[in-house]
Symmetry: D3
Subunit: 117 residues, 6 copies
């Protein structure tokens, strides 16, 4: 696994654990609500992850983008599809989204390379 991917996952998991360990009810429920939201429903989980990705991009949250890229990757979203999601995000959100798209592209490529091992 690439260092970029590993660092993201390790930190994310460690700090999520700390936050959940605090037993703050609102935070716990928000986390479980988050999980519920992306489950198969009228829309398949795969489409919902695409929605989560584009939303994260226009809101310009790099960590959220990484997370949804991982989910999209697991659900076999293709590189061509990912690029069209990038395109929607860049047109809706403007050139201000470009730096986040560069980092998203890097992360996606590292996810894809991982499978070549």
């Amino acid at each position: 696994m690439s260092k970029l991917i590993d660092d993201f996952r390790t930190y994310r998991e460690a700090m999520n654990e700390k936050l959940l360990a605090t037993e703050n009810k609102t935070i716990k429920r928000l986390y479980s609500l988050d999980a519920l939201t992306y489950q198969d429903g009228a829309l398949p989980a795969r489409t919902k992850e695409m929605l989560g990705l584009v939303a994260s991009m226009v809101l310009r949250c790099d960590d959220c983008i990484k997370y949804h890229l991982e989910q999209c990757f697991k659900m076999d979203v293709t590189t061509c599809e990912i690029l069209e999601i990038f395109a929607v995000a860049n047109v809706v959100g403007g050139t201000i989204v470009i730096p986040h798209t560069r980092r998203a592209m890097e992360y996606w490529m590292e996810l894809a390379e991982g499978t070549a091992d």
Copy 2:
């Protein structure tokens, strides 16, 4: 057609015309880029309109939401699917998205009622 829908469309069209009539090159190209972005590709236009809708919701732009609701409606997105898009937008963007969701719901219902005529 409901007054809400009619007002939105009339104003939007009138002012788009004014803006395009100015012959500002950047604005003209951005408009045509916008149209290009949502065409069928690796992802179908229908999915792209859903992406446009969720992006508009988390960025909290009522007019953009209305526009993408219209496109989704034309492409036979169901009410259950629309609600799941609302759900993703509300969880990603927080309760700050709720007032926009109320207005989106109203607009969607008026679009749906229009077909009952």
Copy 3:
């Protein structure tokens, strides 16, 4: 009750009902999570409503501002306190918050006048 207050409440309630009637699980749970968040805890509900107000102001959501102004009003937040919350919001969020502060001030004054009846 002033027309401004009445319009806000009536529309808000009517559309919340429509949204909850859809039985979308995520939306229902987000609404109940929202209610849970502002209950007395380590911080009193009154302080939490102030937090909700300042957050709504810097995110520039007029309807959210109105809602939290109502809650603050019910919990006897004073006009001087409200103004200091406005001040924090304006300094953190910049002059872009001023138009929302004008509308917030109007709404607060109408709430206060209502008690004079």
Copy 4:
């Protein structure tokens, strides 16, 4: 004067007065800092108003846009220049800025028509 312009100015002035009458120090100083910021300096006031306009557009604050359009108008910014500011705002901020550009265009045209009287 058009109703659109008149309504904006009347409400803005009335509520600014109310806010300043509260004698909240932070708010008073922010207002005077705001005035100071746009005065001639290394950059002429005219350029600064253009900066204020583009900043208001990408942050999507209609009232702030109207205010800076008025200032630009007073300082003889031309329609061609205004459109290039709109163009920068739309490219940086994306299509989400378009609805605000429509309203900005309408306001600018009403300002311009006023001079034809």
Copy 5:
């Protein structure tokens, strides 16, 4: 002192000095207005720092969050209170705030550990 805390403070101080040394009047006054805003008034400084924290969180500015966490820490805000501020920020601002909450939690824990020395 932890490296995380030290790095933040050192860079912040050094660059603030550079900015103030430029003698730009607007910047100088904004800095002093910022200090004024958080002083005891109708609301105690402690509450105002909480307001500053929640505003920084929903606007997703990591450095602003760190600064207000430091101020809250100095004013004996408890960990339970901090978590309830995190909760409000996450519900108002959505899951997009979670990555910032992870970093805020880490910073808060390092502040708390420092006192154990």
Copy 6:
């Protein structure tokens, strides 16, 4: 050249190449639209770069800020002018812009020092 400047330029160029190499039409056209927008027109390119800078600052995108600082530097924008752009951004966008202003100041100083070599 400083490491800060070099790192930014190297990564930016490398990833832009990757994105353009994908042959996604929307992304390619957005990049060329971006270039078109800042060309001399009714407003000189120099003014447009200032507009791009202030827009990037209020939207709080560090990489966009760096890019426009570079363009401003090439077009002989003076340090006094840059500071007045910073001032507008900080007043419009609030103290939330300060951390980005610190990093912008650092980058500008490194650009300026480079010319002293």
